[in-house]
Protein backbone atom coordinates (compact mmCIF):
# COMPACT_ATOMS: atom_id res chain seq x y z
CA UNK A 1 0.00 0.00 0.00
CA UNK A 2 1.09 3.50 -0.52
CA UNK A 3 2.65 4.79 2.58
CA UNK A 4 0.62 7.07 4.74
CA UNK A 5 3.74 9.04 5.49
CA UNK A 6 4.00 9.90 1.84
CA UNK A 7 0.70 11.72 1.87
CA UNK A 8 2.15 14.87 3.27
CA UNK A 9 1.05 14.33 6.85
CA UNK A 10 2.00 17.08 9.18
CA UNK A 11 1.99 16.42 12.89
CA UNK A 12 2.57 20.02 13.81
CA UNK A 13 -1.02 20.67 14.72
CA UNK A 14 -1.04 17.79 17.19
CA UNK A 15 2.10 18.70 19.08
CA UNK A 16 1.83 21.34 21.72
CA UNK A 17 4.85 23.33 22.66
CA UNK A 18 6.24 21.84 25.82
CA UNK A 19 8.85 23.17 28.13
CA UNK A 20 10.27 21.22 31.01
CA UNK A 21 9.20 22.64 34.29
CA UNK A 22 11.71 22.68 37.14
CA UNK A 23 11.16 19.89 39.60
CA UNK A 24 9.41 21.08 42.73
CA UNK A 25 9.33 19.42 46.13
CA UNK A 26 6.44 17.01 46.24
CA UNK A 27 4.19 15.84 48.97
CA UNK A 28 5.01 13.08 51.38
CA UNK A 29 2.84 10.00 51.67
CA UNK A 30 1.18 11.35 54.80
CA UNK A 31 0.38 14.65 53.14
CA UNK A 32 -1.11 12.86 50.14
CA UNK A 33 -3.13 10.67 52.44
CA UNK A 34 -4.45 13.66 54.33
CA UNK A 35 -5.37 15.44 51.11
CA UNK A 36 -7.25 12.55 49.57
CA UNK A 37 -8.75 10.16 52.10
CA UNK A 38 -11.38 12.43 53.58
CA UNK A 39 -12.27 14.12 50.34
CA UNK A 40 -13.14 10.92 48.53
CA UNK A 41 -13.70 8.46 51.37
CA UNK A 42 -10.60 6.44 50.56
CA UNK A 43 -8.76 4.27 53.02
CA UNK A 44 -5.08 3.63 53.28
CA UNK A 45 -4.00 0.08 52.60
CA UNK A 46 -2.43 -1.21 55.81
CA UNK A 47 -0.04 -3.41 53.87
CA UNK A 48 1.34 -0.79 51.50
CA UNK A 49 5.07 -0.54 51.07
CA UNK A 50 7.36 1.89 49.25
CA UNK A 51 4.48 4.09 48.15
CA UNK A 52 1.17 5.20 49.49
CA UNK A 53 -1.67 2.88 48.49
CA UNK A 54 -5.18 4.21 48.74
CA UNK A 55 -8.14 1.88 48.43
CA UNK A 56 -11.40 2.72 46.75
CA UNK A 57 -13.94 0.30 48.16
CA UNK A 58 -16.03 -1.97 45.98
CA UNK A 59 -19.25 -0.42 44.78
CA UNK A 60 -17.92 3.12 44.90
CA UNK A 61 -15.83 2.83 41.77
CA UNK A 62 -18.64 3.35 39.29
CA UNK A 63 -19.62 6.67 40.75
CA UNK A 64 -16.29 7.93 41.98
CA UNK A 65 -13.33 6.52 40.06
CA UNK A 66 -13.39 8.96 37.19
CA UNK A 67 -13.81 11.88 39.55
CA UNK A 68 -10.94 10.76 41.77
CA UNK A 69 -8.56 10.22 38.87
CA UNK A 70 -9.46 13.55 37.32
CA UNK A 71 -8.77 15.26 40.63
CA UNK A 72 -5.40 13.49 40.89
CA UNK A 73 -4.48 14.65 37.42
CA UNK A 74 -5.77 18.21 37.49
CA UNK A 75 -5.34 19.36 41.07
CA UNK A 76 -2.49 21.94 41.07
CA UNK A 77 -1.05 20.47 44.26
CA UNK A 78 -0.99 16.91 43.02
CA UNK A 79 -0.61 16.91 39.23
CA UNK A 80 -0.32 13.18 38.69
CA UNK A 81 0.15 13.65 34.98
CA UNK A 82 1.54 10.20 34.26
CA UNK A 83 -0.22 6.86 34.50
CA UNK A 84 2.68 4.46 34.90
CA UNK A 85 0.69 1.28 34.75
CA UNK A 86 -2.62 -0.33 35.34
CA UNK A 87 -2.74 -3.85 36.70
CA UNK A 88 -5.39 -6.23 37.91
CA UNK A 89 -5.33 -8.77 40.71
CA UNK A 90 -7.36 -11.91 41.20
CA UNK A 91 -7.54 -12.77 44.91
CA UNK A 92 -9.28 -16.10 44.36
CA UNK A 93 -6.47 -18.27 45.72
CA UNK A 94 -4.78 -15.58 47.79
CA UNK A 95 -4.19 -16.80 51.34
CA UNK A 96 -6.23 -15.18 54.11
CA UNK A 97 -7.91 -12.71 51.82
CA UNK A 98 -11.18 -11.13 52.78
CA UNK A 99 -13.05 -8.86 50.50
CA UNK A 100 -13.90 -8.65 46.83
CA UNK A 101 -12.29 -11.04 44.41
CA UNK A 102 -10.74 -8.56 41.99
CA UNK A 103 -8.79 -5.36 42.29
CA UNK A 104 -7.24 -2.95 39.83
CA UNK A 105 -4.16 -0.98 40.80
CA UNK A 106 -3.46 2.33 39.10
CA UNK A 107 0.11 3.61 39.44
CA UNK A 108 0.39 7.37 39.20
CA UNK A 109 3.42 9.61 39.11
CA UNK A 110 3.82 13.34 38.95
CA UNK A 111 6.57 14.49 36.63
CA UNK A 112 6.75 17.88 38.33
CA UNK A 113 6.54 16.91 41.98
CA UNK A 114 8.01 13.43 41.61
CA UNK A 115 5.61 11.89 44.08
CA UNK A 116 3.86 8.66 43.43
CA UNK A 117 0.57 7.09 44.38
CA UNK A 118 -1.09 3.75 44.02
CA UNK A 119 -4.84 3.65 43.76
CA UNK A 120 -6.35 0.25 44.37
CA UNK A 121 -9.93 -0.22 43.25
CA UNK A 122 -11.73 -3.21 44.69
CA UNK A 123 -14.14 -4.96 42.34
CA UNK A 124 -16.83 -7.49 43.11
CA UNK A 125 -17.00 -10.62 41.03
CA UNK A 126 -20.69 -10.18 40.31
CA UNK A 127 -20.28 -6.66 39.06
CA UNK A 128 -16.85 -6.52 37.43
CA UNK A 129 -17.20 -3.19 35.73
CA UNK A 130 -15.45 0.12 36.28
CA UNK A 131 -15.50 3.36 34.30
CA UNK A 132 -12.77 3.83 31.74
CA UNK A 133 -10.23 6.61 32.18
CA UNK A 134 -8.99 6.55 28.60
CA UNK A 135 -10.13 10.16 28.19
CA UNK A 136 -7.78 11.26 30.97
CA UNK A 137 -4.75 9.16 30.07
CA UNK A 138 -4.35 7.90 26.52
CA UNK A 139 -2.19 4.99 27.65
CA UNK A 140 -5.21 3.66 29.56
CA UNK A 141 -6.74 2.74 26.21
CA UNK A 142 -4.45 -0.22 25.68
CA UNK A 143 -3.84 -1.14 29.31
CA UNK A 144 -7.55 -1.32 29.96
CA UNK A 145 -7.92 -3.55 26.93
CA UNK A 146 -5.21 -5.78 28.35
CA UNK A 147 -6.97 -6.04 31.71
CA UNK A 148 -10.22 -6.80 29.96
CA UNK A 149 -8.54 -9.45 27.84
CA UNK A 150 -6.64 -11.21 30.59
CA UNK A 151 -8.91 -10.72 33.58
CA UNK A 152 -12.35 -10.04 32.16
CA UNK A 153 -13.03 -6.74 33.87
CA UNK A 154 -15.23 -4.48 31.78
CA UNK A 155 -14.38 -0.81 31.38
CA UNK A 156 -17.54 1.07 30.63
CA UNK A 157 -17.14 3.92 28.20
CA UNK A 158 -14.10 2.45 26.49
CA UNK A 159 -14.23 3.15 22.75
CA UNK A 160 -12.73 -0.13 21.56
CA UNK A 161 -12.91 -2.74 24.29
CA UNK A 162 -11.71 -5.88 22.56
CA UNK A 163 -8.94 -8.37 23.12
CA UNK A 164 -5.43 -7.08 22.63
CA UNK A 165 -3.07 -9.95 23.53
CA UNK A 166 -5.09 -13.10 23.01
CA UNK A 167 -6.64 -13.88 19.68
CA UNK A 168 -10.21 -13.02 18.92
CA UNK A 169 -11.46 -16.61 19.07
CA UNK A 170 -10.21 -17.05 22.63
CA UNK A 171 -12.86 -17.98 25.17
CA UNK A 172 -12.34 -17.00 28.80
CA UNK A 173 -9.77 -14.88 30.54
CA UNK A 174 -6.47 -16.66 31.08
CA UNK A 175 -5.08 -14.74 34.06
CA UNK A 176 -8.08 -15.55 36.20
CA UNK A 177 -7.06 -18.08 38.78
CA UNK A 178 -9.86 -20.44 37.80
CA UNK A 179 -8.69 -20.61 34.19
CA UNK A 180 -6.65 -23.79 33.68
CA UNK A 181 -3.25 -22.38 32.81
CA UNK A 182 -2.38 -24.98 30.20
CA UNK A 183 -5.71 -24.96 28.39
CA UNK A 184 -4.81 -24.01 24.85
CA UNK A 185 -7.16 -22.58 22.29
CA UNK A 186 -6.48 -22.71 18.59
CA UNK A 187 -7.04 -19.88 16.19
CA UNK A 188 -8.48 -20.70 12.78
CA UNK A 189 -8.08 -17.38 10.99
CA UNK A 190 -6.38 -14.15 11.89
CA UNK A 191 -8.18 -10.98 12.75
CA UNK A 192 -7.37 -8.73 9.77
CA UNK A 193 -7.90 -5.67 11.99
CA UNK A 194 -9.49 -3.68 9.21
CA UNK A 195 -11.35 -1.59 11.77
CA UNK A 196 -8.07 -0.42 13.26
CA UNK A 197 -6.70 0.37 9.82
CA UNK A 198 -9.76 2.34 8.87
CA UNK A 199 -9.74 4.25 12.13
CA UNK A 200 -6.11 5.18 11.54
CA UNK A 201 -6.79 6.31 7.99
CA UNK A 202 -9.78 8.34 9.11
CA UNK A 203 -7.57 9.92 11.74
CA UNK A 204 -5.26 11.07 8.97
CA UNK A 205 -8.09 12.61 6.97
CA UNK A 206 -8.97 9.83 4.57
CA UNK A 207 -12.43 8.49 3.94
CA UNK A 208 -12.97 4.77 3.61
CA UNK A 209 -15.08 4.28 0.52
CA UNK A 210 -15.21 0.52 0.30
CA UNK A 211 -14.43 -1.74 3.21
CA UNK A 212 -13.16 -5.28 3.00
CA UNK A 213 -10.65 -7.68 4.38
CA UNK A 214 -7.03 -7.40 3.38
CA UNK A 215 -5.98 -10.96 2.63
CA UNK A 216 -2.31 -11.69 2.56
CA UNK A 217 -1.60 -13.97 -0.32
CA UNK A 218 -5.11 -13.90 -1.76
CA UNK A 219 -5.66 -12.39 -5.20
CA UNK A 220 -5.68 -8.68 -4.70
CA UNK A 221 -8.23 -7.97 -7.39
CA UNK A 222 -10.79 -10.19 -5.73
CA UNK A 223 -10.58 -8.50 -2.34
CA UNK A 224 -9.63 -4.99 -3.04
CA UNK A 225 -10.05 -2.23 -0.56
CA UNK A 226 -9.87 1.23 -1.90
CA UNK A 227 -9.59 4.30 0.19
CA UNK A 228 -10.20 7.46 -1.72
CA UNK A 229 -9.55 11.01 -0.96
CA UNK A 230 -11.95 12.89 1.14
CA UNK A 231 -12.58 16.51 0.43
CA UNK A 232 -10.90 18.74 2.95
CA UNK A 233 -13.24 19.06 5.87
CA UNK A 234 -11.41 21.87 7.51
CA UNK A 235 -8.24 23.80 7.13
CA UNK A 236 -6.24 21.62 9.47
CA UNK A 237 -6.91 18.47 7.55
CA UNK A 238 -6.50 20.12 4.20
CA UNK A 239 -2.81 19.45 4.17
CA UNK A 240 -3.40 15.81 5.05
CA UNK A 241 -5.84 14.99 2.29
CA UNK A 242 -3.71 14.19 -0.72
CA UNK A 243 -4.08 11.40 -3.27
CA UNK A 244 -5.91 8.12 -2.91
CA UNK A 245 -4.53 5.17 -1.03
CA UNK A 246 -5.16 1.58 -2.04
CA UNK A 247 -4.91 -0.52 1.08
CA UNK A 248 -5.30 -3.88 -0.63
CA UNK A 249 -1.76 -4.18 -1.90
CA UNK A 250 0.68 -6.60 -0.29
Amino acid sequence: MSSIAGAGISHETDVRSWKREPIKPGKSDDQLEAALTERFGLTRDAKDRWNLTLVLAAGKAKAQLHEVVQFLRDSPDLRFDMLLDLASIDYLSYPNHRGPRFAIVYLFKSLVFRHRLKLKVEIDEDDAEVPSIHDLYRIADWTEREVFDQMGIVFSGHPNLKRILNHHEFVGHPLRKDYPCQKRQKLSINDPMVDQLEARLKHYGYQVVESGEVHLGAPIAAKHQSVAEQGPVDDQKKANAHGAVGAGGV
Partner: protein, 172 residues
Protein backbone atom coordinates in the same frame (compact mmCIF):
# COMPACT_ATOMS: atom_id res chain seq x y z
CA UNK B 1 40.02 -38.51 -47.83
CA UNK B 2 37.54 -41.26 -47.25
CA UNK B 3 35.28 -41.69 -44.26
CA UNK B 4 36.20 -44.54 -41.95
CA UNK B 5 33.31 -45.88 -39.90
CA UNK B 6 33.89 -46.75 -36.27
CA UNK B 7 34.57 -50.43 -35.84
CA UNK B 8 31.54 -52.30 -34.59
CA UNK B 9 33.45 -53.69 -31.64
CA UNK B 10 33.91 -50.22 -30.04
CA UNK B 11 30.84 -49.04 -28.08
CA UNK B 12 29.90 -45.34 -28.07
CA UNK B 13 30.58 -44.97 -24.31
CA UNK B 14 34.11 -46.09 -24.77
CA UNK B 15 34.70 -43.65 -27.57
CA UNK B 16 33.47 -40.75 -25.44
CA UNK B 17 35.94 -41.53 -22.70
CA UNK B 18 35.65 -39.70 -19.35
CA UNK B 19 33.30 -37.04 -20.67
CA UNK B 20 30.21 -39.23 -20.09
CA UNK B 21 28.81 -40.81 -16.95
CA UNK B 22 25.58 -42.65 -16.31
CA UNK B 23 23.42 -41.93 -13.27
CA UNK B 24 19.82 -41.66 -12.09
CA UNK B 25 17.61 -38.61 -12.45
CA UNK B 26 16.95 -38.61 -8.70
CA UNK B 27 20.63 -38.44 -7.93
CA UNK B 28 21.20 -35.45 -10.19
CA UNK B 29 18.11 -33.56 -9.08
CA UNK B 30 18.71 -34.21 -5.39
CA UNK B 31 22.31 -33.13 -5.77
CA UNK B 32 21.09 -29.82 -7.08
CA UNK B 33 18.35 -29.44 -4.52
CA UNK B 34 20.37 -30.20 -1.45
CA UNK B 35 23.26 -27.95 -2.40
CA UNK B 36 21.23 -24.90 -3.25
CA UNK B 37 18.73 -24.55 -0.42
CA UNK B 38 17.20 -21.09 -0.27
CA UNK B 39 16.15 -20.54 3.32
CA UNK B 40 13.32 -18.35 4.53
CA UNK B 41 13.99 -17.33 8.14
CA UNK B 42 10.84 -17.22 10.26
CA UNK B 43 12.66 -15.78 13.24
CA UNK B 44 10.50 -14.76 16.17
CA UNK B 45 12.90 -14.94 19.11
CA UNK B 46 16.53 -15.39 20.10
CA UNK B 47 16.95 -18.36 17.76
CA UNK B 48 16.53 -15.89 14.92
CA UNK B 49 19.50 -13.92 16.25
CA UNK B 50 21.48 -17.14 16.34
CA UNK B 51 20.53 -17.81 12.73
CA UNK B 52 22.09 -14.46 11.80
CA UNK B 53 25.34 -15.80 13.22
CA UNK B 54 24.97 -18.90 11.12
CA UNK B 55 24.60 -16.85 7.95
CA UNK B 56 27.46 -14.49 8.69
CA UNK B 57 31.05 -15.15 7.80
CA UNK B 58 32.33 -16.91 10.92
CA UNK B 59 30.09 -19.95 10.60
CA UNK B 60 29.13 -19.28 7.01
CA UNK B 61 26.14 -21.26 5.88
CA UNK B 62 27.27 -20.68 2.28
CA UNK B 63 29.75 -23.52 2.69
CA UNK B 64 26.66 -25.71 2.44
CA UNK B 65 25.08 -23.80 -0.41
CA UNK B 66 22.28 -22.30 1.66
CA UNK B 67 23.44 -18.73 1.96
CA UNK B 68 20.82 -17.13 -0.29
CA UNK B 69 18.34 -16.06 2.37
CA UNK B 70 15.02 -15.10 0.84
CA UNK B 71 12.46 -12.98 2.61
CA UNK B 72 9.62 -14.09 0.38
CA UNK B 73 8.24 -17.60 0.86
CA UNK B 74 7.59 -17.80 -2.86
CA UNK B 75 11.31 -17.75 -3.56
CA UNK B 76 12.37 -20.12 -0.80
CA UNK B 77 12.37 -23.88 -0.51
CA UNK B 78 13.48 -24.15 3.12
CA UNK B 79 11.69 -22.43 5.98
CA UNK B 80 13.54 -22.18 9.26
CA UNK B 81 11.23 -21.54 12.20
CA UNK B 82 13.51 -20.00 14.78
CA UNK B 83 11.59 -18.89 17.83
CA UNK B 84 8.43 -19.14 19.87
CA UNK B 85 5.18 -19.54 17.96
CA UNK B 86 1.95 -18.49 19.63
CA UNK B 87 -1.52 -19.52 18.63
CA UNK B 88 -2.12 -16.00 17.43
CA UNK B 89 0.78 -16.40 14.98
CA UNK B 90 -0.06 -19.93 13.92
CA UNK B 91 -2.38 -19.05 10.98
CA UNK B 92 0.32 -16.69 9.67
CA UNK B 93 2.93 -19.42 9.80
CA UNK B 94 0.55 -21.83 8.12
CA UNK B 95 -0.17 -19.39 5.33
CA UNK B 96 3.49 -18.63 4.74
CA UNK B 97 4.22 -22.35 4.55
CA UNK B 98 1.44 -22.82 2.03
CA UNK B 99 2.82 -20.01 -0.10
CA UNK B 100 6.11 -21.85 -0.60
CA UNK B 101 6.46 -23.83 -3.82
CA UNK B 102 7.16 -27.54 -3.88
CA UNK B 103 9.57 -29.02 -3.06
CA UNK B 104 9.84 -27.46 0.38
CA UNK B 105 11.40 -28.41 3.65
CA UNK B 106 10.95 -27.22 7.23
CA UNK B 107 13.54 -26.90 9.97
CA UNK B 108 12.29 -26.35 13.49
CA UNK B 109 15.12 -24.59 15.27
CA UNK B 110 15.32 -24.48 19.03
CA UNK B 111 13.30 -25.67 21.98
CA UNK B 112 10.35 -23.31 21.55
CA UNK B 113 9.58 -24.13 17.94
CA UNK B 114 10.12 -27.83 18.59
CA UNK B 115 8.19 -28.27 21.82
CA UNK B 116 7.04 -24.92 23.12
CA UNK B 117 10.10 -24.76 25.33
CA UNK B 118 9.43 -23.57 28.84
CA UNK B 119 6.28 -21.74 27.73
CA UNK B 120 3.92 -24.40 29.00
CA UNK B 121 0.95 -22.08 28.96
CA UNK B 122 -2.28 -21.09 27.30
CA UNK B 123 -0.85 -19.06 24.43
CA UNK B 124 2.16 -20.95 23.05
CA UNK B 125 2.00 -23.70 20.46
CA UNK B 126 3.68 -26.79 21.98
CA UNK B 127 5.68 -27.59 18.88
CA UNK B 128 5.04 -26.27 15.40
CA UNK B 129 4.33 -29.75 14.07
CA UNK B 130 0.80 -29.03 15.25
CA UNK B 131 0.68 -26.48 12.43
CA UNK B 132 2.99 -27.61 9.62
CA UNK B 133 5.03 -30.77 8.85
CA UNK B 134 8.62 -30.62 10.05
CA UNK B 135 11.64 -32.31 8.51
CA UNK B 136 14.44 -31.54 10.95
CA UNK B 137 14.34 -30.58 14.63
CA UNK B 138 17.31 -28.74 16.11
CA UNK B 139 17.74 -28.88 19.86
CA UNK B 140 19.05 -26.00 21.93
CA UNK B 141 17.88 -22.88 23.67
CA UNK B 142 18.99 -21.28 21.44
CA UNK B 143 20.95 -23.79 19.36
CA UNK B 144 24.60 -23.04 18.73
CA UNK B 145 25.48 -22.21 15.12
CA UNK B 146 27.21 -25.57 14.90
CA UNK B 147 23.88 -27.18 15.72
CA UNK B 148 22.24 -25.18 12.95
CA UNK B 149 24.87 -26.40 10.49
CA UNK B 150 24.38 -29.94 11.72
CA UNK B 151 20.68 -29.52 11.02
CA UNK B 152 21.40 -28.28 7.50
CA UNK B 153 23.65 -31.27 6.84
CA UNK B 154 21.04 -33.65 8.22
CA UNK B 155 18.49 -32.09 5.90
CA UNK B 156 20.86 -32.47 2.96
CA UNK B 157 21.26 -36.15 3.77
CA UNK B 158 17.50 -36.48 3.96
CA UNK B 159 17.04 -34.78 0.59
CA UNK B 160 19.58 -37.15 -0.93
CA UNK B 161 17.37 -40.08 0.02
CA UNK B 162 14.24 -38.59 -1.52
CA UNK B 163 12.82 -39.44 -4.92
CA UNK B 164 11.09 -37.20 -7.41
CA UNK B 165 8.37 -39.80 -7.82
CA UNK B 166 7.27 -39.49 -4.21
CA UNK B 167 4.77 -36.78 -3.57
CA UNK B 168 5.77 -34.89 -0.47
CA UNK B 169 3.13 -34.34 2.14
CA UNK B 170 1.01 -31.36 1.25
CA UNK B 171 -1.02 -29.73 3.92
CA UNK B 172 -4.73 -30.11 3.38
Amino acid sequence: MTFKPTPATVTPEVSLGDSFITTRVDAVVNWGRRNSLWPFPFGTACCGIEFMGVVSSVFDISRFGAELVRFSPRQADLIIIAGTITYKQAPVLRRIYEQMCEPKWVISAGACATSGGFYDCYCTVPGIDEIIPVDIYIAGCPPRPEAFLEGIVQLQNKIARESMREQKAVGA
